[in-house]
Structure formats: structure tokens, C-alpha cells
Amino acid sequence: MDNTNIYTALYQENKELLQSLSPDFLVKLREDAMQHFIQKGFPGKKDESYKYTYLEPYFNNGYNKYLSPKNIQFDVNEIFHCDVPKLDTHVILLVNGFYFDAANPLKTLPGDVIVGSFAQAVKEYPELVAKYLGKYTSGDSFVALNTAFSRDGIFLYVPKGKVVEKPIQVINVLISDEELMVQHRNLVILEPNSQARVVVCDHTLSPNKFLTNAVTEVYLGENATFDHFKVQNEHNDSVQVSHTYFYQDKASSLRTSTITLHGGLVRNNLNIKLDGEGAECHAFGLFVTDQAQHVDNSVFVDHAKPNCTSNQLFKGILDDQSNGAFAGRILVDRDSQKTAAYQRNSNILLSDEAKMDSKPQLEIYADDVKCSHGATVGQLDEDALFYLRARGISEREAKLMLMYAFAYEIIDEIKIEPLHVRMADLIERRLRGDLTRCNNCAVNCG
């Protein structure tokens, strides 16, 4: 299979448009990315990084690809289904990968915090964007593809020492009357000593097939703190490839959680580079899959400097014919002494046809380190199940309690209280099967 040509052709057709819209640095980035992509092509079936998720067939001609926003008519009230009770946020809407509020492409929040459209930021703050964009992304083909084509997305800039009090909620909505491919690019810059919290929700509002290839880059300056929370709730005909890069300077602190409630095929690449002493990160993930859903979480934590701490906990509950995969790689560089790195991946298979592949990996070049990883694939604990039933709790209810308890370890890590309550409720309903209308629409869950 070779779908590379589709994109080289697309690039040639739109080269002038892309160049006219991009400052010089971005023209060069796009050009280099395209060359890289042409040279590398899509990851093959045997590519180690995509061993359990073969994506090339999905990057086909069946999707329409727009490089400028298309006028979409829809009821903005729909998005209020995403409202989290008691959670006061700055809401930002992306529709099919483009910033929605054309009248206000960039807003300034208290403390000179800038938030809004990535495309607008490229126009207004080219130097700022140039300083960070693509600086620490990897050579992944999908990322190159995104760099070559992405036009818009979210931009957030928090100046030195500023704290964004309210969480920023980004709602990614996919809605279309045709099959659509979307590639947005998000850039978050946290200057030293700043703090921000971002909540991202992905939704599909129409039953068409969607293909998303998104890239998010987050830079945490010295002593910056960032809480990142992502909930994926797309329908079964959607394919999402999501790449998130966190670059962490000295003593910065990151918490990131990804909860996948629904989605046809989901591949999350999470890259964390701990590039300053004393930085720490906590990465969490949870998915619940059924039918033929496929969720693959791939995490790479690079301990590039000494005295950093990383902690990963990823869980999956798989039913029906669903597939799950986890790859977690911890790299401890030569001089990264006093590293503490932990990783755990636990999965529960509920049905005969569900399948889980897990490959936790440690790659360690320093000696004064404490590293461990563990992975399990199994079922609900029989003894616990019997204990509950012996107290009169029905088998179904007992199983739900145990599944919920299994998932709760992740929910418990959500430190934004209203969101915590909301997710606890959503997960419980997901496990009960009350959240299965996603074939057509997953948003209407409020």
C-alpha cells in the first residue's frame, strides 16, 4: 500500500496557498516536513512504533481535505452539552480543526495571557511561534504530515509568573455532511513560573467518517505548572491520531490524563521530554472499549536531565471484539542520575474476542536510578467478586463495582474537582453501557 502520493499531490496543488498564508519560517518548516514525509512514507505494518496499529489504509482518498475553513451551519448550543456543572472555564471552540470565533481570533485574558487561533498567532506573533514550533517534535511521519498541512488550531501563551485561574476548555467538534480529514495544530507556551490548566474534549456531531491527525506542542518553562486533561468521545467511524509533545524545563510540573470513552480507532502518542533538573511529570490514561473499537496509547518519556521524576499509569477495560495496545518507553540518558521513573499498565479483558497488547519498555544508561515498570492483562479478581456476591450484591453489580474501582485509580488523579465528579459519572455510565449512542452522536451525554 502506498498512500504517500495522495499527500505529495495535495501538497503540490496547495503549495502556493500554503506559502501565501505562512511566514518564511513556516514555509521552510512545511517544506522540510514534506520532504521528510516523502522520504519516510507512512509507517509500515512491521514498523516497531506502530506495531499494533497500522494506519496507512485510513489515510486514503476517501476523505475530503480542506486547507481553509468551510462554512458550517450548526447549533452552537449543541456544545453546551459539553458543559461540566460547576466548572467555570474559558471555552474555546474548534470546528473541524479551525478556530470558530472568527470575529475574535485572539483574546487577551487577565495577566496578558493570549489565547485563540493558532493561524492568527502565526500572523500576529510570528517570532514567538517560530521560537517554539516544531522545536522538539520527533521524526514521526504523521507529525510531518501535520506540519506540512496544518493551518489552524489553538494557541495559548502564558507570560512569566502569570497564573490562568480558570481552566481553559477546548472543544473539538467534528461536524460535516461529507467524509472529512482534519489536521489541526495546537501550541501552548508557558513561560517560567506560570500556571495553566487545559481541558480538551473531542466530539463528533455528525455520523460521517472522520480522520483526525492532530499535533499539540506544550512548552513548560522553568518552574511552570500545567494540568492537561483530555477526554475523547468520538463515534465508531472516526479515526483519531493524536500527538502531544511536552517539553519540560527545570522544576516544571506536568499532569496529563487522557480518557477515551469512545472512538473507532484511536492512537495517542504522548511524548514527554524532561529537559531540566527537578522536572516531574505524571501521565495517566484510561480507555473503555467495546464493539470493534481500537485504542492504542503510546508513551515516550525521555529523562534527559538528572533528578527528574516520571510516573505513568495507563489502564484499559476491553469488551466485545475491541482491541487495545499500550507501549510505554522510558529512556534514561547517560547523565540523568537520580532519576525516578515508574510505569504501570493494567488491563482487563471482559470478552472472549477482546485483545490486548502491551509493551512497557525501559532503556537506561545511568546507574543511580530507580526505575520500574509493570504490566498485567487479566480479569476481574474472582475472590473480590465472590466476596461482594456473598454480601448479597448481584454479579452484574459486583462486576461493575470492581470495574469502576479499577478505573477509579485514574479518575482519582483528576485534580479539578467538578471535572473529577463529571468524569466519575461518565465512566460509571460508560461501564453500565448507558453511553453507547455514540454510533451517531456522543456529545449528547450531558
Binding site: E48, R334, Q337, N347, L349, L350, S351, D352, A354, K355, M356, D357, S358, K359, P360, Q361, L362, E363, I364, Y365, A366, D367, D368, V369, K370, C371, S372, H373, G374, A375, T376, V377, G378, Q379
Partner: protein
């Protein structure tokens, strides 16, 4: 670790490879290089039946279509397969009928290696097949074993004398097309050991093969095949050493184990090929394919390996758990020092119902070495109630080495329970200090701690070899803590 300790440790590391001598003996070699004629020549030299030549040629032709695998965490210098001599044999009769006919140099060599070929002098209860370069020199206790119907001989003899058994099982676990090195081995293997334990027989003694590379510029390609028929039991040990040379030598072996219903095979390896010098010059490239199949119900295969030698080790003793209720174990200690590189582990493929596997891997890296565990636990759809537990620990001695863990868990059955745990840490300074404080030198302390760390694996070795392995561990790590 502070500088003083560093120094002490560096001094201690100066331990030399004890088996680096060369035996001065007439050796018959063929010209270097590899083509179909060489394959034919090897087969002819061994007086093989036609089917073997065909088998070799098929493997060779397949090998030509393959490229060397690159997925391991190893830096492998280019190997020129045309610069290797594929057959070297000490000049001698086909096989010595009695010890008196054996070249005294040869006898002395094996004596020096601690492997006396004289049965009276030998460790009680261990039968040995001694392989030097391309051929088997002497197999001890053959008659004793034959009384029980056990066949224990060199692979060459087996091909000539038991062609039916060889035809039936050779390549049945590791097909000649399995991978690059297995295909190469299938084409040019020269000798190795063969063992068949008939129905219901418990092999009364440990069987052992001792592999020795002597000749220069040669590769060693031995092939081992062990079959335990229904209800049989055999415990088998292999050891290996090579002279100290500046150039690298290739060793690409294949081992196949077949355990029928209720049979048990215990396979232990103490691998001590020449690891190269402290600058990383020389040493054996060890690319080995080992695989066993638990073919019948309730069968059991256990791999134990102590890997201290070789410049590069690429080795994954694996098990296919086909029979219901079969079980498999993999116990490994892998030590790398100086410039050594090891990428080793196992594969457990669960196919039958109620199968169990257990993996215990202890990696110890020192110097500038890199040591990786790579393992696969696969539970196929029909493998009801499969259980696996893996524990993979790594110990780092020194700040310039690398230690890596690459497990793969692939589970396709909900009744499976698969657990993997791994830890990586440095050797405990407080433990060393505690020993120091009790008057134990740092190097002895390291030896003690490492042996304690590896105990669970060493305990699996037959008694006679456990002591040897323990010493080997200490020697391999001499001077490594820093």
C-alpha cells in the same frame, strides 16, 4: 560511588579470561567463503545421506534471500560472511574408539577446561559430548546410556545412524527458514549433540555438551536436538569457551527441544565464550536460536542460562506451549562488562489449555556494556486459562553501562492472566558499605551481592555447575563497580 571505590573496582576488573589459550593441533580447514559448493563439501565431509544435503541447500538458498535482523538493541559491525571458514576439524579419525587414540593435546585441552574426557576421572553422573570447532571429539558414557535405550551422540553420527529420528525432528521446532542465523546454521552446521530419551525413561545422569572454538577465522555452527518421548526426563547442560583472539568469530547455533506427553526437559547453559578484551577488541559474536516445544499434554521445558561471555549475544530461548497443561520456565542471568552487548530473553507462546510459564531474568551490566532483556508472552485465542508471570530485574554497576527491558505482552484470551514486573537499580552502596564494615572487601562484597541477586536463577542449575557459575559471575564482574 566515590573515587576510591571506583579505583578499587577498576583494579578488581582486571580479571582475565581464563580460557583464552590456543591448542596447537593439526586442523583441517576448508577455504573460507560460502556458496553452494561449500555446503556440498561440508555435507560430503560428513558422509551425509542425500536428504540432508537437500535440506542444507534449501536452507542456504533461503538464507541468500534474507538480511541480518536489525531490531535488537545491538550495534553489530558488518560481518563479512565470505571471510569466514565454515568447516574446521582437528585432524583425527572419524571418532575415537578409545581414549588412547585421542591426540594428547586434545585431551589436555579439555582437561584444562575442566572437562576430562576420561570417564573414570569425570564428574560422577555427567555424560559429555565434547565438540571442538566443527566436530564432536568424544562422547562419554554412551554405552551406559545405551543400556536404557537413550541415544546420546554427536549430530553427525545421529544423521548417519538414526536418520529416521533426525528426519522426523530436525527443523520441526526451528525450521530451516526461521530466521537469518537459523537458516545459515541449517546450511552449514557441522556438528552438535543429539539426544533421544525413549518413552518412560528418566535419564540417569546429566548430559552435557562442551563447545570449544579453537581454530582461527572459523565460525562455529553447531546444532543440537533433544527429544524426550512420552514420560521421559532429561537434564542437559552446555558450556562453551574460545581462545582469546583479536578478530571476532561468529557462533550461530540452533537448539531444538521436543517434549512429548508428560515429558520434561531441563536445559542449562553456561555461556562463557571469549568476550573480547577490555577495549572491546575480539570476542565471539553469539547469534543463537533456541526453541523448545511442549508438544504433549503435561509436558515441561525449563531453560536456565548463565550468560557471561561473548562480545555480542543475540539469544532468545523460547517455548511453544502446545500441549494442554504444559509448562515452561526461563531463568536467566546475563552479565555484561567492558564493551560487551547482550540482547537476550525469551518467548512464551501459549497455545494449549491451562498452560503456565514463568520468566525470571536478572541482568547485570557493568563497564561500557549494554544489556537488554527482550521477551514476548503471547496468549493465543484458544489458550484457555494461560498464566504467565515475568520478573525482569536489572542491576547497574557503574555509570557508563546501559540496561534495557523490552517485554511484549500479547493477550488474546480473556481467561489469561499475564503479569510482568521489572525493576532497574544500581548496586546498593549501603549494602557494600555494610559488607565493608564487617571487613569484606568491596570486590568480594560485589560478588556476594550479585550472587545473592542471581540466586533464584543459579538455584536452577544442576549442583555441579551452580558452583562453577557462581565463580564465573564473580570473575566476569571483577573490577566492574565504579
Amino acid at each position: 560511588m566515590n573515587e576510591t571505590n571506583d579505583n578499587i573496582l577498576n583494579e578488581v576488573t582486571q580479571g582475565d579470561y581464563k580460557y583464552g589459550f590456543v591448542t596447537d593441533i593439526d586442523t583441517e580447514t576448508i577455504p573460507k567463503g560460502l556458496n553452494e559448493d561449500v555446503v556440498r563439501l561440508i555435507s560430503a565431509k560428513k558422509n551425509e545421506p542425500e536428504f540432508m544435503l537437500e535440506w542444507r541447500l534449501k536452507a542456504f538458498r533461503h538464507w541468500q534471500t534474507l538480511t541480518m535482523p536489525t531490531w535488537a538493541h545491538l550495534t553489530i559491525p558488518e560481518i563479512s560472511y565470505q571471510d569466514i571458514i565454515y568447516y574446521a576439524a582437528p585432524k583425527q579419525q572419524a571418532k575415537y574408539a578409545s581414549l588412547d587414540e585421542v591426540d594428547p593435546e586434545l585431551l589436555e585441552t579439555f582437561d584444562k577446561l575442566g572437562i576430562p574426557l576420561n570417564e573414570r576421572n569425570h564428574l560422577a553422573g555427567v555424560a559429555v559430548d565434547a565438540v571442538m570447532d566443527s566436530i564432536s571429539v568424544k562422547t562419554t558414557f554412551r554405552e551406559t546410556l545405551a543400556e536404557k535405550g537413550i541415544i546420546f551422540c554427536s549430530m553427525s553420527e545421529a544423521i548417519r545412524e538414526h536418520p529416521d529420528l533426525v528426519k522426523k525432528y530436525l527443523g520441526s521446532v526451528v525450521p530451516s527458514t526461521d530466521n537469518f542465523f537459523a537458516a545459515l546454521n541449517s546450511a552449514v552446521f557441522s556438528d552438535g549433540s543429539f539426544c533421544y530419551v525413549p518413552k518412560g525413561i528418566r535419564c540417569p545422569m546429566e548430559l552435557s555438551t562442551y563447545f570449544r572454538i579453537n581454530a582461527a577465522n572459523t565460525g562455529q555452527f553447531e546444532r543440537t536436538l533433544l527429544i524426550a518421548d512420552e514420560g521421559a526426563y532429561v537434564s542437559y547442560l552446555e558450556g562453551c569457551t574460545a581462545p582469546q583472539r583479536d578478530e571476532n568469530q561468529l557462533h550461530a547455533a540452533v537448539v531444538e527441544l521436543v517434549a512429548m506427553e508428560n515429558a520434561e526437559i531441563k536445559y542449562s547453559t553456561v555461556q562463557n565464550w571469549y568476550p573480547g578484551n577490555k577495549e572491546g577488541k575480539g570476542g565471539i559474536y553469539n547469534f543463537v536460536t533456541k526453541r523448545g516445544i511442549c508438544k504433549g499434554a503435561n509436558s515441561k521445558i525449563s531453560w536456565t542460562q548463565v550468560e557471561t561471555g561473548s562480545a555480542i549475544t543475540w539469544k532468545y530461548p523460547s517455548c511453544i506451549l502446545r500441549g494442554d497443561n504444559s509448562s515452561a520456565e526461563f531463568y536467566s542471568v546475563a552479565v555484561t562488562n567492558n564493551h560487551q552487548q547482550a540482547d537476550t530473553g525469551t518467548k512464551m507462546i501459549h497455545i494449549g489449555k491451562n498452560t503456565r510459564s514463568r520468566i525470571v531474568s536478572k541482568g547485570i551490566s557493568a563497564g561500557l556494556s549494554n544489556n537488554s532483556y527482550r521477551g514476548l508472552v503471547k496468549v493465543t485465542r484458544g489458550a484457555e486459562n494461560a498464566r504467565n508471570f515475568s520478573q525482569c530485574d536489572s542491576l547497574l554497576l557503574g555509570s557508563k553501562c546501559g540496561s534495557h527491558t523490552f517485554p511484549y505482552l500479547e493477550v488474546d484470551n480473556k481467561t489469561a492472566k499475564v503479569e510482568h514486573e521489572a525493576t532497574t537499580s544500581k548496586i546498593g552502596e549501603d549494602q557494600i558499605f555494610y559488607c565493608n564494615q564487617r571487613g569484606i572487601s568491596t570486590e568480594d562484597a560485589v560478588g556476594l551481592i550479585v550472587n545473592g541477586y542471581a540466586r533464584e536463577v543459579l538455584n536452577q542449575l544442576p549442583m555441579e555447575f551452580a558452583v562453577e557459575a557462581q565463580k564465573l559471575l564473580a570473575i566476569s564482574l571483577e573490577g566492574s563497580v565504579g
